[in-house]
């Protein structure tokens, strides 16, 4: 009995010591630094796409280097960064509250699904700054970082339709939700604008958050579209989209060495994921938006409300680099560039599927 009491007491002491030492540790490295917490979407920060872009932005702000170690174009902001990857949707709120409870200066939520959660947490901590990527909130301490995905998708739709030999192109969305409809609608409009007889096949992986992590299903959908004649497929499906990359690679190349089927990447620049098979990527500069909001907090000029990123200043864009410059004809690029200017000038209006 005595022994057990002693053990219990020792355990309590050990916990206390551990607890205090932990606290001291965080105090030491937080000295004067702006503290930023980021909560990723279910896809996780290495989805090579949407979350990866957000991670890239905060990593540049923290260290001045991309996650792979290469230097960023922008300087380090000297912040202290902590990130959380929730294993399931129920662990998002506790993660946000934990950051808020420790008095972080900025808490970033990645993904539309976190908007309602952030709304409830931000109400309880009115003195802490929050930022939500892809979500909307009216609270004064929440910055909503939103993108005009429909405009970027319009441009890749034009490119897809122009580069397609069959006149049939595909779209594979992850979860069947308004945000992804925005990609689909813009893509379809762009394709029809470039080629009125274009046929666009629209498929979704699923209706739950598991739809972002099902490359097997993504590949089957891509193969089905290829079977129906599609030769360019735009994916907006997180990890599931990588299945479509496999499908077009499997379809192979013709005698001239050009791929017979192409995929269009999304969010991050995915051109070099399968070089030669990726026509372009509809990049959404989540990295820039996230970096910008961190920098606003550092410079003490954080503002809540909507921060909208469109084609102007390349908030959304189609990406060109060494992996795809051989794949798209100069006339097609020129046409896309003209359309881009018209959209920025307001001469061409692209339907926003979320505002219908």
């Amino acid at each position: 009995m005595k022994l057990r009491m002693f053990l219990a007491a020792a355990l309590v002491c050990a916990l206390l010591v551990a607890g205090t030492s932990c606290r001291q540790e965080t105090r030491a490295d937080e000295k004067g630094k702006i503290r930023v917490g980021i909560v990723f979407d279910i896809g996780g920060k290495d989805d090579r796409s949407f979350n990866a872009a957000a991670y890239d932005g905060v990593k540049c702000a923290e260290t001045g280097r991309h996650p792979d170690g290469t230097p960023c174009e922008k300087p380090s902001l000297g912040i202290m960064l902590r990130d959380v990857e929730p294993g399931n949707p129920t662990s998002i709120e506790p993660a946000m509250r934990a950051f808020a409870e420790r008095g972080y200066d900025l808490i970033i939520g990645v993904g539309f699904a976190q908007a309602p959660i952030m709304e409830t947490v931000a109400k309880d901590y009115p003195n802490i700054n929050f930022a939500i990527v892809d979500g909307a909130s009216e609270l004064p301490n929440v910055a909503s970082l939103v993108f005009k995905e429909h405009e970027g998708s319009y441009l890749v739709g034009m490119i897809a339709a122009k580069e397609s030999k069959t006149g049939k192109i595909g779209f594979i969305g992850g979860m069947d939700i308004g945000l992804i409809h925005r990609f689909a609608k813009g893509y379809e409009e762009g394709a029809k604008a470039a080629r009125p007889d274009a046929e666009v096949m629209v498929n979704y992986v699923g209706v739950t958050d598991g739809a972002w992590n099902n490359p097997g299903k993504g590949k089957e959908l891509a193969l089905a579209q290829i079977g129906k004649g599609a030769d360019v497929i735009f994916t907006a499906a997180g990890n599931s989209g990588l299945g479509a990359f496999d499908a077009v690679e499997q379809a192979g190349k013709d005698s001239s060495g050009r791929a017979t089927h192409f995929v269009i990447g999304v969010d991050s620049n995915q051109n070099c994921v399968k070089p030669g098979f990726v026509l372009t990527s509809m990049v959404k500069r989540v990295d820039n938006a996230v970096y910008q909001i961190v920098s606003d907090v550092v410079e003490k000029k954080f503002k809540g409300g909507f921060h909208v990123y469109g084609l102007e200043a390349d908030g959304v864009a189609y990406s060109m680099d060494k992996c795809n410059q051989q794949l798209i004809g100069p006339d097609v690029l020129q046409q896309a560039e003209q359309a881009k200017q018209k959209i920025i000038a307001g001469q061409v209006k692209v339907t926003d599927a979320m505002k219908q």
Partner: protein
């Protein structure tokens, strides 16, 4: 109609049925020996992650496949020890393994690939898109033969139906059950390997997406018998393939909503389970830990 029902559809059905069949046959071994194996989902994840990681490092899908078999068996051994040696509740142990395997790959991928739950993409030439399908096809007659025509199969069924009698006849109930659960893990591991290095080219978090549970449903639907279980898996694969083809198809100018198309396989499952298969009788000792009388 012909643009939906074609050879592509049948191949697609075959590809979608394969992981289900491998996991379901795994479940069959375990459950015919009396150990509930709700852990198929986790075992598939273990196989999928191991296959993709090892193939990436070793550059050979065969090494990857063998490793996946070992990984599946290793995790199944945990289930076996908990359920057989310590007579734990088999559903609880299986659930624990499923939860464990949502986290372990994320942890290990951090250590190996500096990522958090996915592996790098394996190059196309290192994928094995057909081998697991062939293995699954061969396993059905093999399982049938082992189960009904070998002493091992007879003992396996005996410990699942009436362990006391089997014990009295000199069969080691626990040994048989250990063997059955390990085989179960190995087969589910192949199913997982198919997901990561057959059907796609990488592991992503929770990529099994409920297939382990569908396999369990197919096992029950197939009355715990190999051939019927195969037919159930093929049916599930087929309905999913049809659902994929039906997406975005217009009927009389109206597009069928995605949500509706995607419930077809599940609705069919319920209808078939409830209406057409008659009684599906589980092995009598399923879920009951065996304790030798003193």
């Amino acid at each position: 109609m012909s643009d939906i029902f074609n050879v592509g559809l049948l191949l697609s059905a075959l590809r979608l049925a394969t992981p289900l069949l491998l996991a379901a046959l795994g479940g069959l071994f375990s459950e015919r020996a009396g150990v509930i194996n709700i852990a198929l989902e986790g075992l598939m994840l273990a196989g999928a992650f191991t296959a993709a990681s090892v193939t990436w490092y070793a550059g050979s899908p065969w090494v990857g496949l063998v490793s996946a078999v070992l990984a599946g068996a290793l995790i199944a051994a945990v289930h076996a020890v908990a359920c057989i040696r310590y007579r734990a509740d088999q559903v609880v142990s299986g659930t624990a393994i499923n939860i464990l395997l949502t986290g372990v790959p994320a942890l290990l991928s951090g250590a190996f690939f500096l990522s958090s739950g996915s592996t790098p993409q394996v190059p196309q030439e290192n994928l094995i898109p057909w081998t697991p399908i062939v293995i699954a096809g061969l396993l059905v007659p093999l399982t049938y033969y082992v189960l009904y025509y070998t002493p091992f199969g007879l003992r396996l069924r005996a410990v699942g139906e009436n362990p006391e009698a089997a014990d009295a006849a000199g069969v080691s109930v626990n040994l048989m059950r250990y063997a059955a659960v390990l085989i179960s893990g190995a087969l589910a591991g192949i199913g997982g390997a198919y997901l990561s290095i057959g059907q796609s080219s990488l592991f992503t978090r929770n990529m099994s997406a409920g297939r382990g549970f569908i396999a369990l449903a197919a096992l029950i639907f197939g009355k715990w018998r190999p051939v019927q279980t195969m037919l159930a898996c093929l049916l599930f694969g087929f309905t999913e393939a049809v659902a994929i083809q039906l997406q975005g198809v217009r009927f009389g100018g109206e597009e069928i909503p995605t949500q509706f198309v995607q419930i077809i396989p599940y609705v069919l499952t319920i209808v078939v389970l409830a209406g057409f298969i008659g009684t599906s009788r589980a092995p009598r000792a399923l879920g009951i830990p065996y304790q030798k009388e003193k």
